[in-house]
Symmetry: C2
Subunit: 587 residues, 2 copies
């Protein structure tokens, strides 16, 4: 058993507790297979979890989304499940704190441990006389480890990117000056890809390249596996940056002395951070690039709008297909996802999905992050709802859209809940707000109509969306946990309220919206949202009596835009159907 | 000229800059005359402002509410006006920083300077080699200074207070234990009055006694001018506290060593704070009493609801009187205020107004904090709006209510704006929210319908309301500047959105609301608001076409409650009128 081998290693190296988190050295949301150490050790393949092994205990911590899957996958591995968030269940840090004895040693691979988490661990254990040791106990055990991806990096053409590397680095240096930073170390892969106008295929659904970057006031450095570079890319990068091998950064940063160094402790790994000597002054905050990247430039916005229309064609064709097909036969959730992808694959500049499609029938949709798999999926029938949350990567933008599709007969609770979610969606869609209003404050606008009817959703209302990059990006997030980032013109964000009822149904309606200017008057400068996703919202599922006239008008206007934007790209039968399902509704 | 005399003093004492703020030693919102040093020196009588005098300059800083009044009042005093908030106008700290030279001395009376402000001043000047000196240059100049009030303190009966001193101090000690505090120094007068169940008349409209308190884990001390105490009050206080003379606290606190001392730096004056020796550990935050006082007990809530109904009778009688009287003759704003007071004076347990009534006709209402005075008031005619914001202190509660009353013909903008303010008011009134939702998050609920129509108000949506205490109290405040305090059952707060148009009109509709429990379900525990103020909202000023049916129902339900709660206490003519003005409206 792999666990026994790990314990032998621990004994040899005098490690009493070994922590295996789910992380790469860059704090990425999704991981290349190479970094899935926790899955290798525990057998559990979900996207989130931490394993801790001691002499006599081996636990896997994961959250409610994964209790069932994790329980099944860790059977016979020697690991036991710790259900995060359940009453009385300690966090892994608390568990270590409660059990560790003086002079014992905690081991972890500092490359796969973010500095902020490290600070928390250290602070939790500060009253103990213990040691935290950077040690890699996995590499020798993992014999058939997948390779790091060797795909070639490609240039993201300026006609898509909208700004040259030169402009971007110059903006970054302005931000650095404001923060009084001599240099910044950038470890997050989407920030690096954005800054250098490069893309790659190193992470599934996410067009980034495994790399590091350092930008000083007048020089910049790029650290990467040089095999991934073509001559063209080298030339492109050399306009602004010197290129080093990927791992050289660890020694490179040791040479900084007496500098003001800006880092994002939520993104930098503890190993790299520890190599900064103490003569330096650390300025810590969200990556400066995140703020620059989060406000899209005009070319990005123009492209993103066009891309969203293109993507809407695929989604609309899919809905038409599904609604007709399900009358004839049952369809598996997996076939539905594949069909949707096939519509997208036909589109200009399509690269990949932007995340694993969620096609969840009936009560499956009540489980957050449900994914149909070959050994666990449902057949879609001609009643109830199918929730489809999907998106794609195009060279000229990233999409993310959710529709909950009525397949036939609905019960009154399904109709009520669908209509309430629509009210919530329209509330944010048609909101106006004064300049300076923050991401966090806007969240309650969407919850207000649901709360009035005793409903809620246990996730944020919206996340920032990348541009041919991460489908989830910061700095903003319309959420109670938002950091209070003022919403700026050019920010792109999702609008995705929902209602989830265990054992019954899950409903979510999601479009992408962008912040645009509205009027300026004695009260100040107003901003509003412009919705850029287009696909019909299912009027078969609406109870018009719980919509106000204002809401009915807002929906009708949106549907008019859906028809106008999409109809020219559809076949006659699809077009006729779209005319019908986007017709004006009234009481 | 008084300024010359001050400068002579400054020269004698080697003071180069002297700061005269608007403060008492307790951080009170309203000040007894004794403390109005800034008004004495500058002639400016407004409620906010700071004067700074140097050898050759003398400035008064105040905000937009007071530019006109201040300009007029400081004429010929040698002071010049600094318009706070206007572009390019330095704050007084910035001005001192820009002008002061090495080795110069800033003087201020540390008793009238809050510790937080002192910290800011010190930090702003930290790069200069200057001294900040505690010195009172006013006392010898101010020959006809009013006395400190000598009114007797009285007991706030347990039948009104709901909890004994013993219970309150025991709750406070629980909070102290949570914060690991050995003692807490309480300087804010409403907190002291609440804690000891005492009241007095030391501040206009605010039934508090000038005093300090210290609570240790097993002893408590009360510092006051002993002439203000009757034998009965001494006996009452001695249940829990030892009594000392008011100024003895300054020496008393010098004796604490190695203690954990909890203080509110926004309420403690710099002189008192400076007397705490450095062996102590300071824990700073909002007064712990503020959190206890902010959640009303059941007897307070029951009384406050009854008091609000009683107060509503006065307001309703006043509106009836005004609407009839103005058809016959013009009425001065001052007469209107006095008339309203006369209706309140007739009510059980009435003590005083809870703040200076704002009765502002037409465009006067667009000025925030407008107060009619003997030499500056308008005559009310039978057209446009009168805004009346008023409230009272009763032994069993404090009220605060605003109605904007249509006196006859209105133009379409007045009707539109009145209706928008009503939409905003109803939005918060009928809100439901999950436990844990904060004061700050709720604010946008009220602004949402106004922002949609390009309107806004430049003040908070609501403030906490005391119970026979300060009309404005914390810790909560429904405002973008709220501190993120979770709204708890038993919190009482105002709901007062508005629209203000310079030169045209000002509209505000204000009721007091309390947080109550609603249902608990899979989504969590819901709270909602219960409106406890009752008086008709003027249906003559409503454009029913911009209200949704839901809003119309909410208003109709409120008006039904107004009629049901008030009609039995009115004369027949008033009652018939009330029936008419609270009738159900519809499209």
């Amino acid at each position: 058993m792999i666990l026994d081998k790990l314990r032998e290693k621990m004994k040899d190296e005098n490690i009493d507790y070994y922590i295996i988190p789910t992380l790469d050295p860059h704090g990425s949301e999704y991981l290349p297979d190479y970094y899935r150490e926790r899955a290798f050790i525990t057998g559990f393949t979900g996207s989130a979890g931490t394993a801790v092994v001691s002499k006599d205990k081996a636990y896997l911590w994961t959250d409610g989304r994964y209790f069932i899957q994790a329980q099944r996958q860790i059977e016979n591995t020697g690991f036991e499940l710790m259900k995060m968030g359940e009453e009385g269940v300690l966090t892994y840090t608390e568990w270590i704190k409660e059990n560790i004895k003086d002079n014992e040693v905690v081991g972890l691979n500092a490359k796969y441990y973010l500095q902020n988490s490290y600070d928390s661990l250290e602070s939790a254990l500060k009253d103990k006389s213990i040691e935290i040791k950077d040690i890699d106990l996995i590499k020798d055990l993992w014999t058939n480890r997948p390779n790091l991806p060797k795909d070639k990096i490609f240039i993201h053409d300026i006609k898509f990117a909208g700004k040259s590397i030169e402009e971007k680095i110059s903006e970054l240096r302005n931000s650095m000056r404001e923060k009084n930073a001599d240099l910044t170390i950038i470890t997050s892969l989407d920030d690096i890809a954005w800054l250098f106008n490069i893309r790659c295929n190193d992470i599934e659904n996410t067009p980034v390249a495994i790399s590091y970057a350092i930008v000083e006031r007048d020089k910049a450095y790029f650290f990467v596996d040089k095999d991934k570079l073509t001559d063209e890319v080298v030339k492109h990068l050399n306009q602004e940056a010197e290129i080093f091998e990927y791992d050289e950064i660890f020694d490179f940063v040791k040479n900084y002395n007496n500098k003001n160094i800006y880092v994002d402790k939520n993104r930098i790994n503890n190993k790299l951070y520890s190599n900064l000597n103490s003569s330096n002054n650390i300025i810590s905050g969200r990556n400066l690039t995140e703020f620059l990247k989060g406000i899209k430039n005009d070319i990005e916005l123009t492209n993103q709008r066009k891309t969203s229309i293109r993507d809407g064609i695929a989604v609309t064709k899919f809905i038409y297909w599904l609604k007709n097909e399900v009358k004839k036969r049952e369809i598996s959730e997996i076939e539905a996802s594949e069909k949707l992808r096939s519509f997208r694959e036909a589109l200009e500049n399509f690269v990949d999905d932007s995340f694993g499609t969620i096609a969840a029938y009936k009560e499956n949709a009540a489980m957050a992050h449900y994914t149909a798999t070959e050994d666990n999926y449902s057949m879609i029938k001609d009643k109830g709802f199918l929730l489809v949350d999907s998106g794609a990567q195009y060279l000229d933008g990233t999409t993310d859209i959710t529709r909950t599709i009525a397949l036939g007969e609905l019960n009154s609770e399904e109709i009520r809940d669908f209509t309430l979610v629509l009210k919530s969606h329209l509330a944010l869609m048609s909101a106006k707000f004064l300049k300076g209003t923050t991401d966090r404050s806007l969240d309650i606008i969407s919850r207000y109509p649901l709360w009035k009817e005793n409903e809620d959703y246990k996730h944020g209302t919206g996340h920032g969306v990348g541009y041919f990059l991460n489908v989830h990006e910061g700095p903003h997030s319309i959420s109670q946990r938002g950091e209070g980032i003022p919403m700026e013109v050019g920010m792109v964000v999702s609008n995705e309220p929902g209602i989830y009822k265990e054992g019954k149904h899950g409903i979510r309606t999601e479009n992408i919206i962008e912040v645009v200017k509205d009027i300026k008057n004695a009260n100040g400068e107003f901003y509003k949202f412009n919705t850029i996703s287009f696909a019909p919202i299912d009027i078969d599922a609406i109870d018009v009596n719980i919509l106000s006239e204002e809401e009915i008008n807002e929906l009708n206007e949106y549907h008019e835009a859906v028809y106008n934007n999409l109809s020219n790209y559809l076949q006659d039968n699809e077009k006729n159907w779209l005319r019908e399902v986007t017709k004006k509704i009234k009481r």
